[in-house]
């Protein structure tokens, strides 16, 4: 039915997800970790939209909208925490947060 095969959409989605995951694991800067999280959520959205378009159902876009709200809430809380961290430690290095207390 659709011009683009579902397999290729899923390949694109998993590529983007892998790139974002590598960023989350490898980067030290917390801001870059948040950006990589955005890339990962976006990749999941690609998978949902591709599946919805392959089966001609609206569910994929509904899930995409829900992912969008999740990303908005996550970024708001994450950036607020980052501003707090910048005030306290004068740095965005994630390794400064390795102590539970203090």
């Amino acid at each position: 039915m659709t011009a683009i095969p579902l397999f290729h959409v899923l390949v694109l989605s998993s590529l983007l997800f892998t790139i974002g995951f590598t960023g989350v694991v490898a980067r030290k800067n917390t801001l870059f970790i948040l950006m990589s999280l955005e890339v990962m959520l976006n990749a999941v959205g690609v998978a949902f939209i591709g599946a919805g378009s392959a089966w001609q159902q609206a569910d994929g876009q509904v899930m995409f909208i829900l992912i969008l709200t999740l990303a908005a809430a996550e970024v708001a809380v994450g950036l607020a925490l980052l501003i707090r961290m910048q005030k306290k430690y004068r740095s965005l290095d994630i390794d400064l947060l390795n102590k539970m207390k203090g």
Binding site: M1, T2, A3, I4, H8, V9, L12, L15, L16, I19, G20, T22, G23, A26, R27, N29, L31, F32, L34, M35, S36, E38, V39, N42, G45, V46, I49, G50, G52, S53, Q56, Q57, A58, D59, G60, Q61, V62, F64, I65, L66, L68, T69, L70, A71, A72, A73, E74, V75, A76, V77, L79, A80, L81, L82, I83, R84, Q86, K87, L92
Partner: protein, 175 residues
């Protein structure tokens, strides 16, 4: 239909732009450059959505992701540098060579957009398989009503947490 102006080839071009821009986001050193590459990546994914027959999701991607969330990132980056003079750390060669990569990727997306709009055959074949926003809305307020309510609570929680964590220390904590 010529090969270069088919839906598949346009999709693969947009996908390549998205992957390259995402790689530049993850491997970048400059925060603002990485944010601009993230915008390009989201726009490329929006083009992919449009070609997959989801114009509503493509519009939401541009408006909410590239419009609102990325502006939030930019404001946060602005606040990180507040009160310091940043000009001595600015890159010396702030010419056009710095932004050439992002400009090239965005230009590829622009060409793609012009091709899609100009080509009547592509428009026709895209019209066939589009999922209308009306059916999405019916799904949202029918079977997914509970999920919409939970999402609204999630946004409220995000609002409260963002306000609580980002407000100045002197007003807040009792310690």
């Amino acid at each position: 239909m010529s090969y270069f102006a088919s839906i598949e080839s346009l999709f693969y071009l947009a996908a390549t732009v998205a992957v390259v821009a995402s790689l530049k986001v993850v491997t970048g050193n400059n925060t603002v450059h990485a944010l601009l590459y993230l915008v390009v990546s989201l726009l490329a994914v929006a083009v992919c959505f449009y070609l997959m027959g989801a114009p509503f999701a493509a519009g939401l991607e541009v408006i909410v992701y590239a419009g609102a969330i990325l502006v939030l990132f930019v404001f946060a980056v602005l606040m990180f540098g507040l009160g310091k003079d940043e000009t001595q750390h600015a890159p010396q060669n702030s010419g056009i060579s710095n932004m050439f990569g992002a400009m090239f990727l965005a230009f590829a997306l622009l060409i793609e957009l012009v091709v899609i709009i100009n080509n009547a055959q592509i428009q026709q074949s895209l019209q066939v398989k589009v999922i209308s926003s009306k059916s999405v809305g019916i799904m949202l307020y029918g079977p997914y009503l509970l999920a919409v309510e939970i999402a609204s609570f999630l946004l409220l929680a995000g609002l409260l947490a963002g306000y609580h964590y980002a407000k100045p220390e002197s007003q807040g904590s009792q310690r």
